[in-house]
Symmetry: none
Subunit: 748 residues, 2 copies
């Protein structure tokens, strides 16, 4: 405040008192934490760093929409925390490439291929199928789960349908080919059945360990490609169980040393009672009500490890395997307790523990992994680190249903990611996910997708309109027109919407509300643009561009628009107009000129290999890049940038035509050769012998071999004799020619 | 904790207690606030919204490096607050297009063009120049400021230099053409002088108001183009004084109504004493020590408004004009007090007040605007809104010096932005700014720019190397190799650096420290890459790519790398993100492989012409397109897409070095030849003649030509004779060698 004297001479020397504004209570990010089943304020443990571990796929088959449900939602959460809230996220994911499902599937595929390669006789196959049906029927009767039962019945029915025709073919001794086709059909239908049976009988003799790594490596590559296609960011670090076995062994050993694990018959089990009774720990933090649920526990133990003897090794049925002794036919690794392999739950504890240490901020996974997998992970790690906070925030993505039903192979509603991407683009799928909450069930149906498509179209129209407005020619000062009330009001709405969107993202990343707020903002812009149009006035370019850039920016944060992920300084300086043609043509020109220079020298100096290399460049390599070189004698080669697919089709067509031409030429050459051979064969016959073999026409011949009497001994007429004489002379000429050729050796 | 009973039957029904982690005290953004001359914690008034007003340019001439100093630094601050700290920034800037400088410049240009179009006779021009020199000399004598005085003297001198030749041409009645050329030269040199004189005499008769809008509109366009070239983001809203006169009039009226302004002789002045004495207000918040500084105040009143009568209209010399009555020849707008135009300070208060209301978060401007401009803005607005917090945080960018000196037209070190961009790219300028604190003085010198160029090169080589590593063909699972200690350590450094960078940005957006931290991070990566190369192992692609993407992202936030600002959904579906690199590299790869194939055959079949063609492609043709081929014996050629200018400079450098080497080689060969010739010449002398020519040393010789007596006829001592004998024998040997060579003709 001014000094009381009010005297204003040379001015006070001191700046007045200042205090920061009160500001408003900033709304903070809350996340739904499965550890409390509540939305909790999110506080990272160390500044802005967020350590995050997500359970990756078990890689033994194509990834399906259930995977998409989890990995697209976690991708959205990760991007929002990283790019919107600016947390410094360190995101790790594992690949389960050692697992009973993998072992079983690899062994079955291996044994079935071996069986098929031996090309069993029809009868043998029929016998084996019958043998395989016995254990199958037992399993069918024991199955209670309706979905699974239905699936097994379907297999049984298909096998019967394929068996009958083969039996008939065998009984009616049909040809090899017809039997073989029935064999093929039965082999295909009974594949699962036979594989199971072969595995149960021959599984333990399998010693080729490579089959247990080839299968997962293939499906891991497939998984990455699917994720790329869905625009899911790769993890910051990826861990594979097969590469962390030593760390897992140490992890198990320490749990045993800490008194929470015990060795039994070559396997090691986790002592849940011991752990639960300790003051420092709690078992079953996520799903306490599931503790003791044997069915869930068994599923966690893996198909090859739920035999009765395994159960007997445990002190309590609630205990679970940390390390499993391997039976013959199962891959194994050395360890203090004999030869075996990791249990399922321990992998994640060991790998996440190695990378993220004693306490991570976020652990994510699918909803159905809560128990036993995640609860057991928590127990293992808290037993290892002797703490009670291995995971601070546990996030579970909701289920995915297909048109209301659970997705399962039996209901034939099993949709792979590749299938889904044939029907919709990655962006449309992602918009659908954004329009749902990440933690609730998402029904993947035509309705769901229809509303996503509508949304995409609504937004796209808006972007196109704004781009059109921005293209209107205006001088550089014209883009900044004075704001009237409408601009001020639209701008106010814009900032209010941004605040609302911020609030929604703070509320457990509620993207459904965000998408509605974005839709409302676009509607407000549409109203503004229409109002300006009505009074023949140009809408304010800078304001509309700002709003459109904000919406594009949010879509990029959500991964619905691909971010330009180029590295470092863009080459070519600012504003290099990146139309493909203008960009690429200079480089192609250089390639073409270099090729021509090289061909010229090669022709002059007779270096055919270089000419072939130049042709291969034109015909095989460049078409792959959508480039067509057209060589014209004596003229510079014409360079064309064409749509790649069209070009490849053209190449195929050219090859087909060339192939046909080649075949025709070959055909013609063959026929010519045959004619020559026939001609030669004809020339070879001495005229004197030419008629002798025609005993079906003539009965007597003169001394030159010319026929004199026909079959019935009747003397030939003058006309007939004259005609034969002519043939005789013609042959004489040919024969002379033949002798001539034989002389100058032209028959090499 | 587990329930005390330890009984683990069906499991407890309740999840254990959970509490959020303590987390660490997040470091918050502090900004240096000129209102306290301290770094203050930055708290926006309403959630994440940040209202921000920046004083834009007075548009009457080309923008210079002083402008760049302010607008690049504010662009960096704005981008960091918007894209890094994710504040919801609303950034307004004005264009001063009504101002005494504009009025004077427009009128002078107008009158001078009229004078020139009348094509004055030589004699008339000479007379007028003399007339104009009178007031000019008065002004020169009155000028105290050393810079200004030097500039006026320079003009005076130049005019004299141009006057003499014209006078002579007139006296010696030279041809029309010669006279005209002298007239043109004098007109050009005396332009400022004549314009001033014409304006002082004819200014008041100018009535064509359009000249007062054409000049600023032109230079506003020029300013926007310069900003675009510097990659400075356009403001969210731009206000022009000429479009806000009604709002300004109301603003002045309300200040008068509130009792802080008074009308005097058609102008309106701000009553600083009244304002300062009020309990609710303080005057001179930014620079209290400058209150009363008449010189500074006068500069704020504008060149046309500091006449003595204007001063007499003020109640106190500290008062300043809110509204100025317009004199003839000055543009004017209707208002309650007759015809006039806005004062300088009131524009910003009125425009910012209209858009941002009673209290904004940030006001920015150049350091030398603190007093009187910004202090008067504060007074006006707080008088209007009757509050004491019109601006919460006042940010001033530091000065710019040119190689240590103040930039000024008189010192001829006045560098326009266009000049600067001819010498360096916008990115290099921005890197230089980033490597300095935004609030301190920045010296624009070759040193400053050299360190920026070094920095750019250091980063660019890193990006190129990472891109080369990422191109190494690896199957899709290969990009995720298991982390060893080196990867874990590099990753730890990476996250520590990100934390350090966050801390530096919180500390008043200290980009200088950030750039050093980024440099250190690159060095750590280089060490890691070198270590992996040393043990013939591939570096971890995913980790290096992550780090490179982070650095690129930070450079984009700082505006040093252009952001892809396309709107909406990219055309052409996913993966067509048209980064030049991704687009062009496949074609370059094909060119490189074709070249390698051709070189291989050419070497095998000894076709040197093709090898020369391949070298020419690498050395002459591809650099033009910014492509660098690096051939490594026995390894595939490394393809690098580099900035074209850098590459051409490199090629020039390479040629210069090769040229130098060639010259050195030639030089050495020439010297060698000379030595050999000298040696040969020496060998040719028969020993008998070798001393004969040395008559300055010896007077008598024996029969073999050996000297016996010195110059004075004195016999040589034994020692001397012995020494000469030795020389004689050495020459004998050489001579024999020479005869030998002559015989076997080795002198072609």
């Amino acid at each position: 405040m001014a000094d009381s004297s009010g005297q204003q001479g040379k001015g006070r020397r001191v700046q007045p008192q200042w205090s920061p504004p009160a500001g408003t209570q900033p709304c903070r990010l809350h996340l739904y934490n499965s550890l409390t089943r509540n939305k909790e304020v999110f506080i990272p443990q160390d500044g802005k760093k967020v350590t995050w571990y997500c359970c990756g796929p078990t890689v033994y088959d194509a990834s399906h929409m259930g995977h998409a449900r989890s990995y697209i939602s976690f991708d959205i959460l990760r991007r929002v925390l990283k790019d919107y809230f600016k947390f410094d996220v360190f995101y790790c994911m594992n690949i389960t490439d050692i697992d009973d499902k993998i072992i079983k599937r690899a062994r079955q595929n291996h044994l079935f291929e071996q069986y098929r390669e031996k090309r069993p006789e029809a009868a043998q196959l029929l016998e084996d199928v019958q043998a395989a049906l016995k254990p199958f029927s037992v399993k069918l009767n024991e199955t209670t789960d309706p979905d699974k039962k239905q699936m097994l019945e379907r297999i049984q029915h298909a096998v019967q349908l394929a068996t009958e025709p083969l039996e008939k073919a065998v009984q009616s001794r049909l040809t090899g080919e017809e039997v073989n086709s029935c064999v093929e059909v039965l082999l295909e239908e009974a594949k699962d059945l036979l594989s199971d049976w072969l595995d149960s009988t021959l599984g333990c003799d399998v010693t080729d360990n490579s089959i247990f790594s080839k299968l997962p490596k293939f499906w891991e590559g497939d998984f990455h490609r699917d994720m790329e296609a869905l625009n899911v960011l790769p993890p910051d670090v990826l861990t594979r169980v097969s590469e962390y076995v030593p760390e897992i062994v140490n992890f198990v050993q320490k749990i045993v040393d800490n008194g929470y694990g015990y060795v039994s018959n070559g396997s090691v089990y986790f002592d849940t009672a011991k752990f639960a009774s300790s003051e420092k720990h709690s078992y079953g933090k996520l799903v306490p009500e599931a503790v003791g649920d044997q069915k869930a526990l068994q599923e966690g133990e893996g198909d090859l490890s739920i035999s009765a003897d395994r159960l007997s090794e445990k002190r309590s049925p609630n205990d679970f395997a940390l390390w499993k002794a391997s039976k013959p036919g199962e891959p194994s690794w050395p360890c203090p307790w004999g030869k075996g392999r990791p249990g399922w739950h321990i992998e994640c504890s060991a790998m996440a523990g190695t990378l993220l240490g004693a306490s991570m901020d976020i652990h994510g996974g699918g909803f159905d992994l809560r128990f036993p997998h995640h609860d057991n992970e928590l127990a293992q790690s808290e037993a290892y680190f002797e703490n009670d906070c291995w995971v601070r925030y546990f996030l579970h993505t909701g289920h995915l249903t297909i048109a209301g039903c659970k997705m399962s192979k039996s209901l034939k509603n099993f949709i792979t990611i590749k299938d889904a991407l044939k029907k919709h683009s990655a962006r449309q799928l992602r918009l659908a996910f954004l329009m749902h909450s990440w933690k609730d069930t998402l029904d993947y149906s035509s309705n769901t997708m229809e509303s996503a498509l509508q949304y995409e179209k609504f937004l796209n129209e808006f972007f196109l309109n704004v781009k059109d407005i921005l293209r209107a020619p205006v001088d550089i000062t014209g883009q900044f027109e004075k704001w009237g009330e409408e601009e001020a009001e639209l701008n106010k709405n814009f900032y209010d919407k941004k605040t609302a969107i911020h609030k929604a993202l703070c509320d457990n990343v509620d993207t459904r509300t965000v998408m509605e707020e974005m839709r409302a903002l676009v509607s407000q812009c549409n109203l503004y643009m229409a109002a300006r149009k009505a009074v023949r006035k140009r809408p304010n370019q800078a304001l509309l561009e700002n709003i459109a850039l904000y919406l594009t920016h949010m879509l990029k944060i959500f991964g619905a628009v691909e971010e330009d992920s180029s590295l470092g300084f863009p080459v070519g300086g600012p504003g290099t107009s990146l139309s493909l043609e203008a960009t690429v043509m200079p480089y192609l020109q250089v390639l073409s000129e270099f090729r021509e220079g090289v061909r010229k020298i090669a022709r002059e100096q007779k270096v055919p290999e270089i000419l072939q290399l130049s042709d291969a460049l034109r015909d095989n390599i460049l078409p792959e890049l959508g480039v067509r070189f057209e060589d014209h004698e004596g003229l510079p080669t014409v360079v064309k940038l064409v749509d790649r697919n069209t070009l490849l089709k053209e190449r195929e067509e050219k090859r087909r035509v060339e192939e046909e031409k080649r075949k025709k030429k070959e055909e013609a050459a063959r026929r010519k050769q045959e004619q020559e051979a026939a001609k030669l064969a004809k020339m070879k016959i001495p005229p004197s012998e030419m008629f002798l073999s025609e005993t079906d026409k003539y009965s007597k011949f003169d001394e030159n071999g010319l026929p004199t009497h026909d079959m019935e001994g009747k003397e030939l007429s003058k006309g007939q004799a004259k005609k034969l004489k002519k043939l005789f002379e013609a042959q004489e000429k040919l024969y002379k020619e033949y002798l001539q050729m034989a002389q100058n050796g032209s028959f090499q």
